[in-house]
C-alpha cells in the first residue's frame, strides 16, 4: 500500500514540465537533468512526499519563530508577513559563478569611479560619454554632496546587483542597487533553514559559505573610521520599527555586534556625531545607514524628516564620520544612467563589459520612444526613480487601458521612464503542493567593497515569482525566495 503511494508521488516529481522558450536551470528541453541538479533531483525522488512536506513545515515554522517578517502597508495598518520561502535550493556552478564574480567586480569598479568623477571633475561628461542633461535631470544627482571627499574614494561599499538569465542562458544585469540594498538577512536565514532541512544534501554538494557576510562588512566599516580612532564606534542607522526591512537591521546589528540607532539617538556637535547614552554623549565614527539620502539630514534635505540627524552632512563633509553607502549614489543606479554603464566600463577601465546590459530605450529620444510605443506588448516600462516593482508596466500582460495610461504618463515626463524588451528570465524547480514546478527567478548577489578590495559573497538572494508564468519576482508583488548554492 505504502509503496504504491510513493510511486504515485514520484510520478508527480518526475513530470517536471519546463516552459518552452525559457531557460530552465535544472532540466533541458528534452527532460534530461543538468548534471549539477542530478543529485538533488534524485534525492527528492527518493524520499516520501510526507517527508518533503514536513521539511516545508519545519522551514515555515523556523521563519515564524524567528520573526523573519517584512511589513506590508495597506491603509494606516501595517501587516507583518513572512517572506515566502521555497525549500529547493537553486544551484549555480563555480564556473558560472566566476563570470558573475568578475562581471560584478568590473561593473562596481566602474560605477565607483563614475561616482567619484561625477561629484568632482565630471570628466565623463566633459568627454561626451554621458550627456550632461541625463545627469542634471537625475533626481538622485545630489548637488549637496558635490565636492565632498570620502574615505579611500569608495562610494559603493555594499551593492546588490540584480542579475537574470535570458532564454539563451546568458547572464544580464537588470539593475544595480547602490544605495541601501536589502535582503542580505534573508540570504543568511535561508541558508540556516536549508542546513536544518537538507543537511545530507549540503554535505554531498560542496556548498560555499555565506555566513561571513556580517564580519566582512564589519571589517570594512572599521577600516573607514576617521584615523584618530583606535577602537571606532560603529552604528547602524535605521528608520525605526515601522520600516519594512527593520528585521534585517536588527539582524545585522546582532551579528556585527554594533549598536542599532535611530536618528533621534544621534546629535551633531561641532561637526562631530554623537549618540545619546545613559552615560552621556558617545562619539560615532562610522554609520551604516539604512535611511535614504533625502531623509538623512533635515537641515539640508527633506526638512520634515524625523528620521535623520540635523547637521549630519556637515560632519560627513568634514570627514568626522564615515557614512555607508556614500550619499549621492542614486545617480549611478538610476535607470536612465543604467544604459551608460557599459560605456563607463570602457571609459574608466578600458575593458569590454563582462556582464551584459538589457537594451534600454530612453523615452526622451523620439525615435526610441516611437519604437517602444509601437511594440508596447513586448516591453517592460519602468519609472526611473521607483523600485521594488512599483511604477512598472509589463507590456505582455497589460490591458490596452493600462498601456494608454503609461503612454500618456511617458509623454508628460519622458525623463521619468525607460523601456526594456521583456527578458525571458530563467526558471528553476520549486516545490508546490506536492509537485515540482518551474518558476521564474532573478538573483541578487551581494558585493562588498572596501580598502582591501572587492568581495562577492558566494551566494545571494534568489527571488522567485511564485505565481505560475509570472515574471515579477518582487516581494511586494507576490514573490518569494530561495537559498542559493554556489558549488565547487
Amino acid at each position: 500500500m505504502h509503496t504504491v503511494t510513493l510511486n504515485l508521488y514520484r510520478m508527480l516529481l518526475d513530470k517536471y514540465q519546463t516552459r518552452t522558450n525559457f531557460w530552465d536551470e535544472m532540466a533541458l528541453p528534452n527532460g534530461e537533468k543538468r548534471s549539477h541538479y542530478q543529485a538533488i533531483f534524485n534525492k527528492l525522488n527518493s524520499i516520501d512526499l510526507d517527508v518533503i512536506n514536513r521539511k516545508e513545515e519545519i522551514a515555515r515554522k523556523m521563519f515564524m519563530n524567528q520573526g523573519i517578517t517584512f511589513t506590508i502597508y495597506s491603509g494606516d495598518e501595517g501587516i507583518e508577513r513572512i517572506f515566502p520561502f521555497d525549500i529547493i535550493p537553486r544551484i549555480i556552478t563555480g564556473a558560472e559563478w566566476q563570470i558573475i564574480e568578475r562581471g560584478t567586480a568590473q561593473r562596481l569598479k566602474a560605477l565607483n569611479l563614475f561616482l567619484q568623477d561625477v561629484y568632482h571633475n565630471q570628466n565623463i561628461i566633459k568627454d561626451g560619454i554621458i550627456p550632461l542633461n541625463i545627469v542634471a535631470t537625475c533626481p538622485h544627482y545630489n548637488r549637496e554632496v558635490f565636492g565632498i571627499n570620502v574615505p579611500f574614494n569608495i562610494y559603493v561599499h555594499i551593492a546588490g546587483i540584480d542579475i537574470v538569465r535570458d532564454s539563451d542562458g546568458e547572464y544580464y544585469v537588470l539593475e544595480d542597487n547602490l544605495r541601501t540594498p536589502s535582503g542580505v538577512s534573508y540570504m543568511m536565514e535561508n541558508r540556516d533553514v536549508t542546513k536544518s532541512i537538507f543537511p545530507e544534501l549540503m554535505s554531498e554538494y560542496n556548498v560555499r559559505r555565506v555566513s561571513d557576510y556580517p564580519l566582512e562588512l564589519k571589517k570594512i566599516l572599521v577600516s573607514l573610521a576617521p584615523k584618530q580612532n583606535q577602537n571606532p564606534c560603529i552604528v547602524i542607522l535605521t528608520p525605526g520599527i515601522f520600516n519594512s526591512a527593520y528585521y534585517e537591521h536588527t539582524f545585522l546589528a546582532r551579528y556585527m555586534g554594533v549598536e542599532l540607532v535611530e536618528g533621534r539617538d544621534l546629535v551633531v556637535d561641532n561637526h562631530t556625531v554623537y549618540m545619546k547614552t545613559t552615560n552621556g554623549l558617545k562619539r560615532v565614527d562610522v554609520i551604516y545607514r539604512r535611511v535614504d539620502d533625502e531623509y538623512l539630514d533635515p537641515l539640508v534635505f527633506n526638512p520634515n524628516s524625523l528620521l535623520g540627524v540635523p547637521g549630519l552632512l556637515a560632519a560627513y563633509r568634514k570627514g568626522n564620520v564615515a557614512i555607508v553607502n556614500a550619499l549621492g549614489n542614486g545617480v549611478a543606479d538610476d535607470k536612465a544612467i543604467y544604459s551608460y554603464v557599459p560605456d563607463m566600463i570602457r571609459y574608466y577601465l578600458n575593458e569590454s563589459p563582462i556582464l551584459k546590459n538589457v537594451p534600454t530605450y530612453k523615452m526622451e529620444n523620439l525615435e526610441e520612444r516611437q519604437y517602444v510605443f509601437d511594440n508596447m506588448h513586448k516591453m517592460v516600462v519602468k519609472k526611473t526613480n521607483e523600485s521594488g516593482g512599483y511604477g512598472m508596466l509589463m507590456g505582455e500582460s497589460a490591458t490596452s487601458e493600462e498601456i494608454e495610461q503609461f503612454k500618456n504618463a511617458i509623454l508628460k515626463e519622458p525623463r521619468s521612464y525607460i523601456a526594456q524588451p521583456t527578458i525571458k528570465i530563467s526558471t528553476v524547480p520549486c516545490y508546490m503542493n506536492g509537485k515540482l514546478v518551474p518558476r521564474h527567478v532573478d538573483l541578487r548577489p551581494y558585493a562588498l567593497f572596501g580598502p582591501d578590495g572587492f568581495k562577492l559573497v558566494s551566494g545571494g538572494l534568489t527571488r522567485v515569482a511564485l505565481k505560475e508564468n509570472s515574471l515579477v519576482v518582487n516581494s511586494s508583488q507576490g514573490g518569494g525566495s530561495k537559498d542559493t548554492w554556489i558549488i565547487d
Binding site: 520599527i241 528585521y247 546582532r254 549598536e259 542599532l260 540607532v261 535611530e262 539617538d265 545619546k276 545613559t278
Partner: protein, 312 residues
C-alpha cells in the same frame, strides 16, 4: 547603553506591569459582581475611576454593564488606556529593543500582543467566558515575568526594567488604596470588617498573606499598614520604593548633580514612609499622604527621564 534603549526597557516593563495590575483588579471585581446576594448594589464605578478617563456621564452609562466595562478596559481600540493599547505600546518598545532583549522575551510579549489582537478574546468577552479571558491574559504576563527572570542578562538594562516595574507598581497601589479609602472617607477608625477589604486584598494578591499576618486588631488599620509599609508584601508601596532605591543606588554612581537629586528624592520618600505611623498619616490625612507619595514618584520619574532617557 543608548538612552532610547534604556527608556524603552523602562516603559516596556511599566506597561506590562500596568496591564497586570489592571487585569487582577478586573478579575476580582468580576467575581464580586457575580455575588449578587452580598453586593446588591455592586457597580463598576470604582474600577472606572481608577483605570479610565471617562467623564461622569460616560461612567454612569456603563457602570452596571459588566460586559461593556470589560470590553472597554480590555480590548477597546479607542481607549488609550485599554489593555490592548497598553500591551501594543509595550510591544512597540520591544520591537525597538530586538538586539537588547532575548528572543524568548520578544516572543512572550509578541504572543501577549497577538492574544489581545485576535478576535478570540472579544468572542470570550462576548460570551460568558470573561473569567477565562482575564485569567489567560494574566497568565500571559506571568509568563513574561518568568521569561525575563530566566533569560535576561543582569546589568544596566535589567536595572532600568526594574525601575519601570516598581514605579508603576507603587503608583498603582497608591491609586487603589486611595480609591478604596475614599469610599470610607479616609476614616482610619472605620470598623469595616474583612468582607469589605477582601476584594481589595485579593486584587493585589494579598488576601492570604493578610489573614496569616494580621490575626487581630482593627482591620482598616491593618490593611493600610500592610499595603503601605509591610516589607514582606511585594505589592506594598514601601517594598516597591525600597526596590527603586536599591536599583537607583546601583545606577547613579557618577555623582552628578542630577544623580544626587535622584538619590535625594528616593531617599526622602523611603524615610517618609518608613518613619510614618498610622497616627501621623491620620493627622495629615491619608489622601494628602498618598498625593505626596505620588508627587515624589512623579518627580523621581521626571528626573530619571531627564538624566538617562533624554534623546527626544
Amino acid at each position: 547603553m543608548l538612552s532610547r534603549i534604556a527608556d524603552s526597557l523602562f516603559w516596556m516593563n511599566r506597561y506590562v506591569e500596568r496591564a497586570e495590575g489592571m487585569l487582577r483588579m478586573l478579575k476580582i471585581n468580576y467575581e464580586t459582581s457575580l455575588d449578587k446576594s452580598d453586593n446588591e448594589n455592586y457597580d463598576w464605578i470604582a474600577v472606572l475611576n481608577i483605570f479610565t478617563y471617562l467623564d461622569e456621564a460616560e461612567k454612569n452609562k456603563i457602570k452596571d454593564d459588566t460586559q461593556a466595562v470589560l470590553k472597554y478596559i480590555i480590548t477597546d481600540k479607542y481607549n488609550e488606556n485599554s489593555i490592548r493599547n497598553i500591551i501594543t505600546k509595550a510591544r512597540e518598545n520591544a520591537r525597538g529593543l530586538q538586539d537588547h532583549i532575548t528572543r524568548e522575551v520578544w516572543e512572550s510579549i509578541n504572543e501577549y500582543y497577538l492574544r489581545l489582537n485576535n478576535n478570540r478574546i472579544d468572542e470570550l468577552l462576548d460570551s460568558n467566558q470573561q473569567a477565562y479571558a482575564i485569567s489567560s491574559l494574566i497568565e500571559q504576563s506571568l509568563y513574561y515575568y518568568g521569561v525575563l527572570e530566566v533569560t535576561m542578562p543582569r546589568g544596566e538594562g535589567w536595572n532600568f526594567m526594574g525601575l519601570g516595574k516598581n514605579i508603576e507598581r507603587a503608583l498603582q497601589t497608591a491609586d487603589i488604596v486611595d480609591t478604596k479609602f475614599h469610599d470610607i472617607n479616609y476614616d482610619l477608625n472605620n470598623p469595616m470588617d474583612i468582607p469589605y477589604w477582601k476584594n481589595l486584598l485579593l486584587s493585589i494578591s494579598g488576601y492570604e498573606f493578610y489573614l496569616k499576618t494580621y490575626p487581630t486588631g482593627l482591620q482598616t488599620q491593618n490593611v493600610l499598614d500592610m499595603i503601605l509599609m509591610n516589607t514582606n508584601f511585594p505589592r506594598s508601596i514601601l517594598y516597591s520604593i525600597r526596590k527603586i532605591s536599591y536599583i537607583i543606588n546601583k545606577i547613579a554612581i557618577d555623582n552628578t548633580e542630577g544623580e544626587k537629586t535622584l538619590l535625594r528624592i528616593i531617599g526622602k520618600l523611603k524615610s517618609k514612609i518608613e518613619y510614618s505611623d498610622l497616627e501621623t498619616i491620620s493627622h495629615i490625612g491619608l489622601h494628602q499622604f498618598l498625593e505626596e507619595v505620588r508627587d515624589e514618584l512623579y518627580k523621581f520619574n521626571n528626573e530619571l527621564s531627564k538624566i538617562y532617557f533624554a534623546y527626544h
